[in-house]
Symmetry: C2
Subunit: 409 residues, 2 copies
């Protein structure tokens, strides 16, 4: 049903606690008086809220600020050691785990390439998580929760991965599996969505209420942050932006979705590798073949990036072409949703220095002028780690939303 949420005093208290906590997070160091002035809450109310947050261990008093006349202010900031958080990113071909403090700063991390087989990937992930738990014990840091970012659709309330086409996984009860082993509170979220939350809490979107995280890698996915909250769609599928048609170029490799002309076939990782390959076939001078021989490795984005860094024209031009296609596809998205920002991240964001100028050029060309002029296209603060930090961020966001329900284990 539609109209569920009733309000009572507890709700008011939680909302105001959360409000004050988020402001401290965003503007630390800050005084009680400042908080009162900015929020419109009464001074005494702020004092009461701050007292509760102090008791919960979520914030710290940290020195005084005696600028100007009057009594000096007691400054407040987040207590980063209130607890640690374990973030897990299940990638298509890797698993990454991080241990961070409450401010999302990485204290420990590890990454392994994943086995295609389901059971093996899972046990390997459990091992990494166990190592993170050991690390937290070494640091004498209680844990607040475990966040899990995964490709595919997620049932948030149950913590179940409903379906991940790239992993070929169906209905995996991730929360149950990880909660049993770690006895932590477990949160599961889609990888693009968690990356979007990472930018909101820790990255370049702290002040933004309307932006889109574009996750470029094997495909192109989107995390929508609209009206100050994630937008997941009716069934959690929102963000499938890779399959809009673009009129860029006459290449017409059919997309795995069955249509032709899908955006992601022109602008994903593989499209760049193909661009480079076809350029190499016509025997242009390029250092890429020798790099491949040197590393004994096939074409890859990091390798092409390395060539571009060395000034290789074929590499640079390939990135630039893909950037134009990226920007053309983005234009549709921008016209639809009129976001404040597009944040570019994921594996492909390694190549951002070579792609972003072309992306922005294409956006300016293809968007409606009033809308295109207002949007800014920026690089993710976390680049390829955005989803991993995002896994942490969804836990932090839950604590920020329900500060009284914090559990340190």
């Amino acid at each position: 049903m539609e109209f569920k949420s009733t309000a009572d005093q507890a709700f008011v208290r939680e909302l105001n606690l959360s409000l004050v906590l988020r402001r401290i997070h965003n503007e630390a160091p800050v005084s009680r008086a400042q908080l009162a002035a900015e929020t419109g809450l009464n001074k005494s109310t702020v004092s009461s809220l701050v007292e509760e947050l102090l008791a919960l261990g979520l914030i710290h008093e940290t020195g005084q600020n005696s600028a100007g006349a009057g009594r000096p202010a007691t400054l407040l900031e987040i207590n980063p050691r209130v607890g640690g958080i374990v973030g897990v990113e299940l990638g298509v071909d890797f698993v990454a785990v991080a241990l961070t403090d409450f401010l999302g700063r990485i204290l420990w991390r590890k990454k392994t390439s994943a086995d295609p087989e389901f059971e093996k990937t899972l046990t390997e992930t459990f091992d990494l998580v166990q190592a993170a738990l050991d690390a937290s014990r070494g640091l004498d840091l209680p844990l607040l929760g475990l966040g899990l970012a995964t490709p595919g659709t997620v049932d948030l309330t149950e913590g179940v991965l409903v379906f991940a086409p790239n992993l070929h996984w169906h209905n995996v009860p991730l929360r149950k599996l990880f909660a049993e082993r770690t006895h932590l509170r477990v949160f599961v979220e889609n990888d693009s969505n968690s990356a979007a939350v990472a930018e909101h809490l820790f990255g370049i979107a702290r002040q933004s209420t309307d932006y889109i995280f574009v996750f470029a890698g094997v495909g192109i996915g989107g995390g929508f942050f609209l009206n100050g909250a994630l937008y997941r769609g009716k069934n959690g599928y929102a963000g499938e932006i890779g399959h809009s048609p673009i009129m860029a170029e006459p290449i017409q490799a059919p997309c795995h979705c069955g249509n032709r002309g899908c955006w992601e076939t022109y602008a994903n990782q593989n499209s760049i590798i193909q661009r480079v390959q076809s350029r190499l076939e016509v025997k242009r001078s390029s250092i890429i073949p020798s790099l491949m021989a040197e590393h004994g490795a096939p074409l890859s984005i990091p390798l092409i990036k390395q060539a571009a860094d060395a000034g290789d024209a074929e590499a640079i031009d390939s990135f630039s072409e893909a950037g134009l296609a990226m920007g053309q596809g983005l234009s549709t998205l921008i016209n639809f949703l009129n976001p404040e920002k597009i944040i570019f991240g994921g594996p492909l964001s390694l190549a951002a220095p070579y792609m972003l100028p072309a992306v922005i050029e294409a956006v300016n060309r293809h968007c409606l002028p009033e809308i295109g002029q207002k949007v800014s296209v920026e690089l993710s603060q976390f680049g390829p780690d955005a989803s991993l930090i995002g896994a942490v961020a969804i836990v932090v966001d839950d604590v920020m939303s329900h500060p009284t329900q914090i559990e340190r284990r």
Copy 2:
């Protein structure tokens, strides 16, 4: 800034009043006990809220329901005569005004074709509004407000039409202009957005939190209802969906936005007229030329509709072709946002019986299967009147959101 809204008891009261009022609106007739059970509010709280709504005149007690054992329930419903609402739709080539009761039922309406000149359109609109005011006085109905739906971008807080490309209007302070003459509370909203709100309050989207109103006419615009609220984007431009590229057909009339292949060039009113024209040029048998002669009128959507109703194949096929293009463009939108519903409205929705089957077929073909299977494409309950009813709806919605601030004039 980002974190504004603090909460206090007044806020709680308003939220719960609004909650109960909306439930009564949606489920009338309904008893206090039922409301308590459904909302989770305490019985005594519901009684108190209901009492206040009764005192405000917003609801009525209406008979008893004595089914089964126990004391019979006192049923409650919205009081439609709590006040009237004036809705104004500023179209590209017409102005429509309606007077409705609080349930959005039309008591009086009038429509005129608009003069292209700004001043004349405005005075003509004032005259129509005055007639509506007179009608309300005749019915002895106090007025709750005046809603204004207009194409283009709107500054909601100021009630200013920022820019309407089709009207060539800039920075028109509509609220100020209409409030001065009518002394009513005036609300201004974009036409597609208001149509979306109309379906939410009075139409086929009462139970939906995630849907998109597609307004097809001269162009194609969208009203996004996401997470239970209108989504307007950062600058109020969200919903410019007409300019996404589609790969439908080799016709390539450039769009007025400067790009080629824009969706709306394949699926708007004019595209249908062009389809019919080119069919008539190759001399197929069709009753359309004789209809044109009979009416002494050029090709138009109502005329083509008339031909289709008479079984004319050229008319039917033209609508169907445009429907395929409509569905193809919708697929991008659906993949992006995973809505529950697409609601098809606007002038072109006259032809819905001939277009919708093709639209649905194209959606099924082009959407990602998991997403496409979940969406339903439906006809607006108000068809070409959706924005006019929407103008009323934005006033009703404001009253529902802030019931204590109701003003009857």
